[in-house]
C-alpha cells in the first residue's frame, strides 16, 4: 500500500507570473503613499518614528515567524507542510531587506538621537574615563545612575553592531533555506533535504539567541528601566501566530487567483487553523504569565510598565489605554480562542480568510499597545499626567503607516517570489504533503 505515490504538481499555475509582477509597482506606490502621508500628517519626526516602529515591528515579527516555521519544519522532517513551505521561505527571506526599513530608526540612533530610544540620550551612553562617567552620572538627575551598567549594552554603537548581526544571521539562514530549496526544484536532489535538516539544528539555536536580544532591542528597550525575562517568548508567540496567519492568508489569496490550486488543500488549512488556535492559546498563556508575576510581586520597578497600560492617570483621569488592554484580552485571546475551536470552522476557507485578517489586525494592536504608551510617557513626562491614548492614536498617522508597511511587504514578497515556483516542486516529501489527510 505504501509504494510511493507519484508526487505530481497538477496546478496550471505554480508561480506568481504577470499580474503579480504588475503588483510590485502598485504596492510600492501604496507603501510610499502610506508611509509618506504618515510622515507628513504627523508633523513631528518623533511621532512618526513611533508609528513607524509599531508597523515595522509588526511586519518584522511576521517575517521572523516565517523563518521559524521554515526551520522547525525542516528540523522535524515535516511532510504535511511541504506545499506551504515555499511561501514561508519567501516570507523569511524578507528579513534581509527589512534591515533597510529599519534604517529610519537606526540611523538617527547612530547619530545620537534619543527621539525613540531614550537610552540614547546624553548621560545614558556615557563614554570616556571612569572619572568622567562618574562625574556625568552625578550631574544627571534623570536618568538615575543604574544605567551605567545598562549602558554597556544599550549604547548606540553596540546597538548598531547587534542590528547588523541580527539581520545578517536571519538573512543568511533564510537565504540558505530558500536557495537550497530552489536548487532542489531543479535537481530533485534528496540530499539537499538532509542538508537543510542537519543545518536547521544549530540554526534554531541561533534563531532563538538572536530573537531574544532583538526583541529586547526593538521594543523592550523603549522603556530601558523595565525588564521582563518573559519578553522574548511573548514577542515570539505573537510573531509565530501572525506568521501562521500570514502564510494562510497568502495561500488563500493565491488560490483565489488560480495559483497552486491543487497542492494546498483543506487539510493544510485545517492544520494551519490548529496551529493558529494553539498559538492563540500560547500567546495568551505567555502574556498572562508575564503579567501575573509582575502584578503579584507588585514591585514598582516592574509594575510601572503595566500601570501605564492599565491604570488611570495619576490624577484619576482615564488614559484610554486600559481599553486597548481589554481589547487585547478579548480580541487577541478569548474571541479567537472560541472562534478557532471547532473543526468545521478551521476547515472553512471563507472563515479562515476573515480570521487571518482579524488576527493580523490584532497583532498590530498588540505592537501598538507595546510601543505607543512609551511615546505617551516620554512626551508627557514633563507636562504632568499622561494624556493617554488620545495623544498616541492618530488614525491619520498610524493607519496609513501600517498600510504602507503592508504595501512594502507585498512588494517584497512579489519581488522575491517573482517567477519562482510557489511550492517545492521536487521535494522528496511532496507526495506526503499532497496526500495529507487529517484523521
Amino acid at each position: 500500500m505504501h509504494e510511493a505515490r507519484i508526487a505530481k504538481i497538477t496546478s496550471p499555475i505554480v508561480s506568481l507570473k504577470d499580474n503579480y509582477v504588475r503588483l510590485i509597482p502598485i504596492s510600492l506606490i501604496v507603501a510610499a503613499a502610506g508611509i509618506g502621508s504618515a510622515l507628513l500628517l504627523s508633523l513631528d519626526m518623533q511621532r512618526f518614528s513611533y508609528a513607524y516602529l509599531t508597523s515595522f515591528c509588526t511586519l518584522m515579527s511576521i517575517c521572523l515567524g516565517g523563518l521559524f516555521f521554515v526551520i522547525i519544519m525542516n528540523l522535524t522532517r515535516a511532510g504535511w507542510s511541504v506545499t506551504l513551505r515555499r511561501i514561508a521561505e519567501i516570507i523569511a527571506m524578507c528579513t534581509l531587506p527589512m534591515f533597510f526599513l529599519y534604517l529610519p530608526i537606526l540611523v538617527p540612533v547612530l547619530t545620537g538621537s534619543d527621539a525613540v530610544y531614550v537610552w540614547n540620550a546624553e548621560g545614558w551612553s556615557i563614554h570616556g574615563t571612569e572619572a568622567e562617567k562618574q562625574a556625568a552620572l552625578a550631574e544627571a538627575d534623570y536618568p538615575p545612575p543604574i544605567e551605567a551598567l545598562k549602558a554597556l549594552y544599550l549604547n548606540r554603537y553596540f546597538f548598531g553592531i547587534r542590528m547588523v548581526a541580527y539581520f545578517l544571521a536571519w538573512g543568511g539562514m533564510a537565504w540558505f533555506f530558500l536557495s537550497n530549496s530552489l536548487k532542489q526544484d531543479k535537481t530533485g536532489d534528496k540530499s539537499l533535504s538532509v542538508k537543510m535538516q542537519k543545518n536547521s539544528t544549530w540554526m534554531l539555536i541561533l534563531f532563538a539567541a538572536t530573537l531574544v536580544f532583538a526583541s529586547f532591542d526593538f521594543e523592550m528597550s523603549l522603556a530601558p528601566f523595565w525588564f521582563s525575562t518573559m519578553w522574548p517568548v511573548y514577542f515570539f508567540s505573537g510573531s509565530m501566530l501572525s506568521a501562521l496567519a500570514t502564510i494562510t492568508l497568502i495561500c488563500l489569496l493565491l488560490q483565489r487567483t488560480g495559483r497552486v490550486t491543487d497542492e494546498i488543500t483543506v487539510e493544510h488549512y485545517h492544520d494551519m487553523g490548529k496551529l493558529m488556535f494553539a498559538f492563540v492559546v500560547f500567546w495568551g498563556y505567555i502574556a498572562f504569565s508575564q503579567f501575573l508575576l509582575i502584578w503579584y510581586a507588585n514591585i514598582p520597578e516592574e509594575t510601572f510598565w503595566y500601570a501605564w497600560r492599565i491604570n488611570p492617570a495619576s490624577d484619576g483621569s482615564t488614559t484610554g489605554w486600559q481599553w486597548v488592554s481589554l481589547l487585547l484580552l478579548f480580541g487577541h485571546l478569548l474571541i479567537p480562542l472560541l472562534a478557532l475551536m471547532a473543526r468545521t470552522v478551521r476547515r472553512s476557507k471563507n472563515f479562515l480568510f476573515f480570521a487571518t485578517i482579524y488576527l493580523l489586525i490584532m497583532h498590530w494592536v498588540d505592537h501598538f499597545w507595546i510601543v505607543m504608551p512609551q511615546y505617551t510617557e516620554i512626551t508627557t513626562a514633563h507636562t504632568g499626567p499622561a494624556a493617554g491614548l488620545a495623544l498616541s492614536f492618530n488614525p491619520l498617522v498610524d493607519i496609513p503607516c501600517v498600510i504602507g508597511m503592508a504595501g512594502v511587504f507585498v512588494a517584497l514578497f512579489c519581488l522575491i517570489a517573482r517567477d519562482r515556483p510557489l511550492v517545492p516542486l521536487k521535494d522528496p516529501r511532496l507526495g506526503e504533503a499532497l496526500a495529507h489527510h487529517n484523521p
Binding site: 500500500m1 498572562f288 503579567f291 501575573l292 502584578w295 503579584y296 507588585n298 475551536m341 473543526r343 489527510h437 484523521p439
Partner: protein
C-alpha cells in the same frame, strides 16, 4: 475451532462473522463494500491506525470534543467559584468562606485566580477526555468473544480484520459469509460468545457487596453526627488554651473610649506592659541565701550589696548583668579573693546528703561537667583534651579546665563550688539556667565525694597522655 472440545459442552451464542484480510488496502475496500451494502454494525481491527478507515466504516464523528468542552467549561466555573467561595464569600450566610488578606490584593482578584482556574479546566478536560474515551468505547470490558479466536491474535502483528455483528438487521449467516469472502477475505470465521460463565463468581459478588456496604459506614456516621445534638462540649485537646483572659503580644491596649477619642487602658496604647520595677515573680523570691546562693545568711541581704559584684542582689538577672560588667576585668576570680563573700562551708540544712543525692549528682555531673572536667574530675574531659590539642597546634585559644583534684580547688568551700556551677569562673560558663538548684547541690555533693580520690579512669588515661605529649 481450537477450543472445539470445550465449546461443545458450553452454551454459545453467535456474535458475528470475522473476516481476515491481508493488507490495509483490502480492509478499506471491504469496509467500503460493507457500508455500501447497508451494514451498520461493523467494526475493523488493524495493527496500526489506517488512514481513511473511519469514513470507510461510516463512523460518525465522535461527540467526545463537545463532551470535553462542556466538562471543561464546568471545570472553569467550578474552579473560579471554588476560589470565590473560599476567598470572598464571607457575606454569604449560607456559605461563609475565609477572607484572607494576601499581599494587599482584593479578596477576589481575578488575575490571582486565573492559574488555578486554568489548571482546573485542564484537569477536568483531561479527565473528561480519558474517562469519556473509556465510556464511549464501553471500556473496561472484562472479556471479548474475539479473544477466543486464536487467529485474531495476529491483529496486533500483521493481519487485518472486519467484523459484522449479528445485531445488524442485514445480517444473514450464509449471505454475509459469502459477501465477506467476495470482498477479498482470506478467512471468514464465526465469533461465538460463551454464555455459560457470564456471571461473576459468587464470592466476587459477595466481596463487592460487602465492600459497598462497608463504604457506606463513614457517610452514615457523618450524617448521624450532622443530624443529632450533643450536650457534651466539643473535644478540645488543650482546652485552657482555647479561651484565655489575656491580650496577645504586640496588640493594641483595650480601648475604653471610641475610635475618635481613644482612651486606652494603658497610656502607651500597648497591651504588653513591662513589670513594675522590683517585681518578683511568684516562687522566685529565693530569700534562703545559703540554699540559693551558697552564701551564709546574714552576710548576704537585700540591703547589703557587697562590692564583690552583686552576688548579693536579689534578682538573678540584675546580678548577672553586674557580673558581666565586673568580671572581664578579672579573668580569674581567685585573684579577687579580698572581696569574696562569706561562702557556706556546710551543706544548707534542706540539702540532705545521702546516697540518692550523690547518685543524682553523679548523673548530672556526667552529663554537664564531665565533657571538660572528665568523669573523675581530673580535667581530662573530651572537649578539654581536644581543645588543648588544638591550642597546642595554635588552632584555638583555650584555658585548660581545672582538675577538681587540684589542692587549691579542694580548699574551696561548698558555697563557692555552688557559685561556680551557677555563674561560671573564667572561661567556664554559667549553668544556672540549665541545672536546677537541687541538682546543683547534688553535683556539689558528688564533686566533694570525688575530690582528692585521685582515681584516674583507664579509659581517659591514654587521651590525656596524648594531650600532654602534644
Amino acid at each position: 475451532m481450537t477450543e472445539k472440545t470445550k465449546s461443545e459442552v458450553s452454551e454459545q451464542k453467535l456474535v458475528g462473522l470475522l473476516a481476515q484480510y491481508e493488507d490495509p488496502g483490502s480492509l478499506i475496500s471491504a469496509c467500503n463494500h460493507a457500508r455500501e451494502s447497508g451494514y451498520k454494525k461493523i467494526d475493523a481491527f488493524s495493527p496500526f491506525p489506517v488512514h481513511g478507515i473511519d469514513p470507510a466504516l461510516g463512523i460518525p464523528r465522535t461527540i467526545l470534543p463537545f463532551f470535553v468542552l462542556i466538562i471543561g467549561l464546568t471545570g472553569c466555573a467550578v474552579g473560579l467559584g471554588m476560589q470565590f467561595y473560599a476567598n470572598a464569600a464571607d457575606w454569604s450566610p449560607l456559605f461563609p468562606g475565609y477572607s484572607f488578606m494576601i499581599s494587599g490584593k482584593p479578596f477576589f482578584s481575578l488575575p490571582a485566580n486565573i492559574p488555578v482556574t486554568f489548571e482546573v479546566v485542564i484537569l477536568s478536560s483531561a479527565l473528561a477526555t480519558f474517562l469519556g474515551m473509556w465510556a464511549l468505547n464501553r471500556l473496561p470490558r472484562l472479556a471479548n468473544p474475539l479473544h477466543r479466536i486464536s487467529r485474531f491474535k495476529r491483529v496486533t502483528n500483521d493481519k487485518f480484520f472486519l467484523l459484522i455483528e449479528t445485531k445488524d438487521p442485514q445480517f444473514d449467516r450464509t449471505e454475509t459469509e459469502s459477501q465477506l469472502s467476495s470482498w477479498g477475505a482470506s478467512v471468514v470465521e464465526e465469533v461465538k460468545e460463551d454464555l455459560t460463565d457470564q456471571q461473576l463468581p459468587s464470592w466476587l459478588q459477595l466481596a463487592g457487596l460487602m465492600t459497598a456496604l462497608l463504604l457506606l459506614i463513614p457517610p452514615v456516621l457523618i450524617f448521624r453526627a450532622e443530624g443529632m445534638t450533643n450536650r457534651k462540649p466539643r473535644l478540645h485537646v488543650v482546652p485552657d488554651m482555647d479561651w484565655q483572659d489575656k491580650y496577645k503580644t504586640q496588640t493594641l491596649s483595650p480601648n475604653l473610649g471610641d475610635e475618635k477619642h481613644p482612651k486606652f487602658l494603658f497610656v502607651d496604647g500597648r497591651a504588653m506592659q513591662e513589670p513594675i520595677p522590683g517585681t518578683i515573680a511568684r516562687g522566685d523570691l529565693d530569700t534562703d541565701s545559703e540554699y540559693f546562693r551558697g552564701i551564709k545568711s546574714g552576710t548576704d541581704a537585700f540591703a547589703t550589696v557587697s562590692s564583690a559584684g552583686a552576688r548579693t542582689s536579689l534578682q538573678d538577672d540584675t546580678r548577672q548583668d553586674d557580673a558581666a560588667n565586673d568580671k572581664p576585668a578579672e579573668p580569674n576570680s581567685d585573684t579577687a579573693a579580698t572581696s569574696e563573700p562569706d561562702w557556706v562551708t556546710q551543706f544548707p540544712t534542706n540539702v540532705e546528703v545521702n546516697l540518692e543525692l550523690l547518685e543524682r549528682g553523679q548523673d548530672r555531673f556526667n552529663i554537664y561537667c564531665s565533657v571538660c572536667h572528665g568523669y573523675a574530675g581530673n580535667g581530662d574531659g573530651l572537649v578539654n583534651t581536644r581543645a588543648l590539642a588544638l591550642a597546642a597546634a595554635g588552632k584555638a585559644q583555650w584555658t585548660a579546665a581545672k582538675s577538681l583534684n587540684d589542692p587549691e580547688i579542694i580548699k574551696n568551700p561548698v558555697g563557692r563550688i555552688f557559685d561556680t556551677i551557677s555563674y561560671g569562673r573564667g572561661t567556664m560558663g554559667p549553668y544556672k539556667d540549665q541545672i536546677p538548684v537541687e541538682d546543683r547541690w547534688a553535683i556539689v555533693a558528688y564533686v566533694r565525694a570525688i575530690q582528692g580520690t585521685g582515681i584516674k579512669p583507664e579509659s581517659t588515661t591514654k587521651a590525656e597522655e596524648d594531650a600532654v605529649a602534644e
